[in-house]
C-alpha cells in the first residue's frame, strides 16, 4: 500500500536505507519498477537528496528510513528542510504497534522527536488508512508554506499477508487546514500606493518567491518600476543576478550596496522573506527610515521580528500578479527624479566597494576566483549545491544566478554535509544538467561516504572542494573575535582526496595554481559521465567580506580586514 500510494502520487524516485521495520515495504519495492529506490550510505543523505529534488523542482521529495537509528539519522535532514520551508515526505519505519512504548529493539519515538521540526507528522494506526495518510502528507507538505511531513508506520501496518481495499484519494480536505489562496485586495491596493510613492525603494526577495514560483512576477514588477532588488541567501536566482537592477545578496555577508540601500531606503517591499537575524542584524537599528510592506504566505512570519506597516498574507505569485495589474494601470507613476537620484546613490555605493577582493596578498588562489571561474565555465547555468561555511558565502556572492531553483543550500539550519547528497538528488533528476557541489574539506567529510552512492547510480556531479585546510568560517570568527586563537578549526591529517575519489571509482584532480584552474575545470565539466572531485587549494587566511558588525545596523560592515563603514 505504501509503494502503491507513492506511485499514484507520481513519485519517481525515493531515497532511503532499509531496516527491520521496513522489510515489508522494501519487499514491495523489489516487486515493482515504477518507483525507483536509491540506496544511500547514510540516512541523512537520503533526506538531503529528497530535499534537493524539492528545491530544484518545487515538488515534495520522498525519503524512506527505518525505525530507531534510521529515523534519528534522518533528523538533521528533516530539520534542514523545515528551516528552509522545503516540501518533503519522510516515511519512517516503526516497531510493531504492540511493542511501541516498550523500548523494543530499534524503537524511538519519532513522532516526539520530529514534532518541532516538521510541518506535521502522522502515525499510522490502521493499515487501510495508509493511502489517505500519504495523500494528506503530500498535500500538507506542498501547500501553503511548504515543509517536511513525517509518516511513521509500525511494521505490522505493512504486513503483506493482510489485504485491504486500496483506493488512492484524488483530493484532500482537512477542516483544520486551509492554506490561503490569495491576498487581501484592500491591503494590496494600499501597498501598491505606498510602493508607487516611494522615493528610495528596495525590493527584498526571499526563498518564498522561489518556492512560490513567483520569480517571473517579481522580475516583471521590479523591471516595470525600475526599483533595485536584493535577494536573501535563499532567494538567489529569483531575480537575475547579472541584471543591472540586482544588488546581490543582503545581510551578514551581503553586498555593500545591498546593505547600504536597505539601510537608507524609505520603502522595503519584502516578498517571501522572513527578516531572519542573518539579514536584519540588530533589529532595533534596522532600516530606520523605511516603511515595510511584507508579503508572506505564513502569517506568523509577518511582524515576527520586524513590524510590517502593510502586512499581506498570501501566496507571492497571486499577490504580485494583482500588484502588477495595479501598477500597470495606476495613474500615479514613481517619482522619476527621486528614483534617478536613488540609482545614482546606489551606483556610487557599487563603485565604492562592489564585491572586490584582493588577490595580491597571497601566493595562493583565492576562493572567490574559483567561484568566479565556476560561474564562467558553466555560464552561470549550473545547479550549484553548496555545503556550509565560507565557500557557501563565496558561492552566494560570486556565482551569478540568473534562474531560480539553481542555488541549493542549507540556509536556515546551516547543515554541513548537505552539499554532496543535494548535488546527487539534483543530478539524478536532471541528468543532462551541470551540477556542482561547492564544498570545503570540512563539510565534504560529513557525508563523504556518498561517493559510493554516486558510483552505484552513476551520478557524475562535479565536486568543487575549496580546500583551505581549516574550518574557514570558524577560523574567520576566531580571527575577528578571539584574537586568532584557532581552537579546533584546523584539521590535521586530511585524506588524499584524489586517491579517495579514485578508490570509489571516480576522477580526482588537484589544482594548486590559478593558471591551471580554468583548463582543469573545463576538463572536469567535459567529462560528462564521470564524477570529478576537484581538490582546489585556496588561501587559508581569506575572510568573507563584507561582514556586518554584530548587533549593528544593516550598514555597519567590515569591508576587509582593516576597513569598516
Amino acid at each position: 500500500m505504501v509503494v502503491r500510494a507513492l506511485r499514484d502520487e507520481g513519485v519517481k524516485y525515493i531515497y532511503g536505507y532499509p531496516g527491520g521495520a521496513l522489510l515489508h515495504v522494501y519487499d514491495a519495492i523489489f516487486q515493482q519498477e515504477e518507483v525507483q529506490h536509491i540506496l544511500v550510505r547514510h540516512e541523512q543523505a537520503a533526506t538531503h537528496m529528497a530535499d534537493a529534488y524539492a528545491r530544484a523542482t518545487g515538488k515534495a521529495g520522498v525519503a524512506l528510513v527505518t525505525s530507531g537509528p534510521g529515523a534519528t539519522n534522518a533528523v538533521t535532514g528533516i530539520a534542514t528542510a523545515y528551516m528552509d520551508s522545503i516540501p518533503m515526505v519522510v516515511i519512517t519505519g516503526q516497531v510493531m504497534s504492540h511493542l511501541v512504548g516498550e523500548d523494543a529493539f530499534q524503537e524511538t519515538d519519532m513522532m516526539g522527536i520530529s514534532r518541532p521540526i516538521v510541518k506535521h507528522n502522522f502515525s499510522v494506526s490502521r493499515p487501510e488508512d495508509i493511502p489517505a495518510v500519504i495523500k494528506k502528507a503530500f498535500h500538507i507538505a506542498q501547500t501553503g508554506r511548504p515543509g517536511p511531513v513525517v509518516v511513521d508506520i509500525p511494521k505490522d501496518m505493512t504486513t503483506p499477508t493482510e489485504r485491504f481495499e486500496y483506493e488512492y484519494p484524488k483530493s484532500v480536505k482537512l477542516r483544520s487546514y486551509n492554506p490561503i489562496s490569495r491576498g487581501h485586495s484592500g491591503q494590496i491596493k494600499k501597498a501598491t500606493d505606498l510602493l508607487l510613492a516611494a522615493k528610495r525603494p528596495v525590493i527584498y526577495v526571499g526563498g518564498g518567491v522561489i518556492m512560490g514560483n513567483a520569480s517571473n512576477e517579481i522580475t516583471e514588477l521590479s523591471r516595470l518600476l525600475n526599483y533595485p532588488v536584493t535577494c536573501t541567501l535563499m532567494g538567489l536566482g529569483a531575480y537575475p543576478g547579472t541584471d543591472r537592477q540586482s544588488l546581490g545578496m543582503l545581510g551578514m555577508h551581503g553586498s555593500y550596496e545591498a546593505n547600504m540601500a536597505m539601510h537608507h531606503s524609505d520603502l522595503i517591499l519584502a516578498v517571501g522573506a522572513r527578516f531572519d537575524d542573518r539579514v536584519t542584524n540588530g533589529v532595533d537599528k534596522f532600516c530606520p527610515t523605511a516603511k515595510i510592506i511584507h508579503i508572506d504566505i505564513d502569517p506568523a512570519s509577518i511582524s515576527k521580528t520586524i513590524k510590517a506597516d502593510i502586512p499581506i498574507v498570501g501566496p507571492a505569485q497571486s499577490v504580485l500578479t494583482e500588484m502588477l495589474e495595479l501598477v500597470a494601470s495606476a495613474k500615479k507613476q514613481p517619482d522619476e527624479a527621486a528614483l534617478k537620484a536613488w540609482w545614482e546613490q546606489i551606483d556610487e555605493w557599487r563603485a565604492r566597494h562592489g564585491g572586490r577582493y584582493r588577490t595580491d596578498d597571497s601566493e595562493l588562489m583565492k576562493p572567490q576566483q574559483v567561484i568566479e571561474m565556476l560561474s564562467k565555465v558553466t555560464n552561470g547555468d549550473a545547479y550549484v549545491c553548496s555545503d556550509v561555511g565560507q565557500h557557501q558565502m563565496f558561492a552566494a556572492q560570486y556565482y551569478k544566478f540568473n534562474k531560480p531553483n539553481r542555488w541549493i543550500n542549507s540556509g536556515g539550519l546551516g547543515t554541513m554535509g548537505f552539499g554532496l547528497p543535494a548535488a546527487m538528488g539534483v543530478k539524478l533528476n536532471f541528468p543532462d544538467a551541470d551540477v556542482a557541489c561547492v564544498t570545503g574539506e570540512g563539510s565534504i567529510q560529513m557525508n563523504i561516504q556518498e561517493l559510493s552512492t554516486c558510483k552505484q547510480y552513476d551520478l557524475p556531479v562535479k565536486i568543487i572542494n575549496l580546500n583551505n585546510q581549516s574550518l574557514g568560517m570558524v577560523r574567520q570568527w576566531q580571527d575577528m573575535n578571539y584574537e586568532s586563537r584557532h581552537s579546533h578549526s584546523y584539521m590535521k591529517s586530511l585524506p588524499d582526496f584524489i586517491k579517495l575519489a579514485e578508490s570509489y571509482g571516480h576522477v580526482g584532480m588537484k589544482v594548486e595554481k590559478y593558471e591551471d584552474l580554468e583548463a582543469a575545470m573545463r576538463e572536469a565539466f567535459a567529462l560528462k559521465d564521470r564524477l570529478v572531485f576537484m581538490d582546489i587549494y585556496v588561501d587559508p587566511f581569506e575572510h568573507v567580506y563584507p561582514m556586518q558588525v554584530a548587533r549593528g545596523s544593516m550598514r555597519d560592515m567590515w569591508l576587509n580586514k582593516t576597513e569598516r563603514t
Binding site: 516526539g112 514534532r115 510541518k119 502515525s123 477542516r175 483544520s176 505564513d298 502569517p299
Partner: protein, 163 residues
Amino acid sequence: MRHIISVLLENEPGALSRVVGLFSQRNYNIESLTVAPTDDATLSRLTVTTIGDDRVIEQITKHLNKLIDVVKVVDLTEGDHIERELMMIKLKASGAARAEIKRTADIFRGQIIDVTPNTYTVQLIGASDKLDAFISALGAANIMEVVRSGVSGIARGEKTLSL
C-alpha cells in the same frame, strides 16, 4: 498582560503535545492549561492562560493556528468573557481554626466537600484571583494541599467558539 486563549483542536493522539510543544519550543509561557473533549467527540477544547506583550500574544495565536490539528483559536481576553477555575484545598481544621475556616469558606462561597476530625477539604469555583484571595485569607499555616484545575473560559453573549 495575562491572556486566556481558547483552542478547538482535533481530539487525536498527539494533538495536545503539539500545542504544549509549541509553547516550550518558542519560549512562550503557560500559566495554566485545561483540556477536555467537547460535545462533539472529535474535538477537544483547550484553554491556556499565558502572559506576554501584544507581539508575543499575536505570535502565539498565529503559531497555534498553524498547527494542523488546531481548528480554531480565540483570545478570550480580547472581548467580554467569563473565566472560572476550580480549586480543592485541604486544610488543617482543629480547635479555633475550624470555625474560622468554615466562616471564610462561606464568605467565599466555597463548599466543604470532605471532613475529618482534623481537616476540611474545601471546593471553590471562581476566577483565578478569587482563588488566590481565598488562599491568602486562610494563611499558609493552615494549608495542607492545593489542587487547581486551571482556567476555563467562555465568551459572554452570543459569540461562540465552534465549527
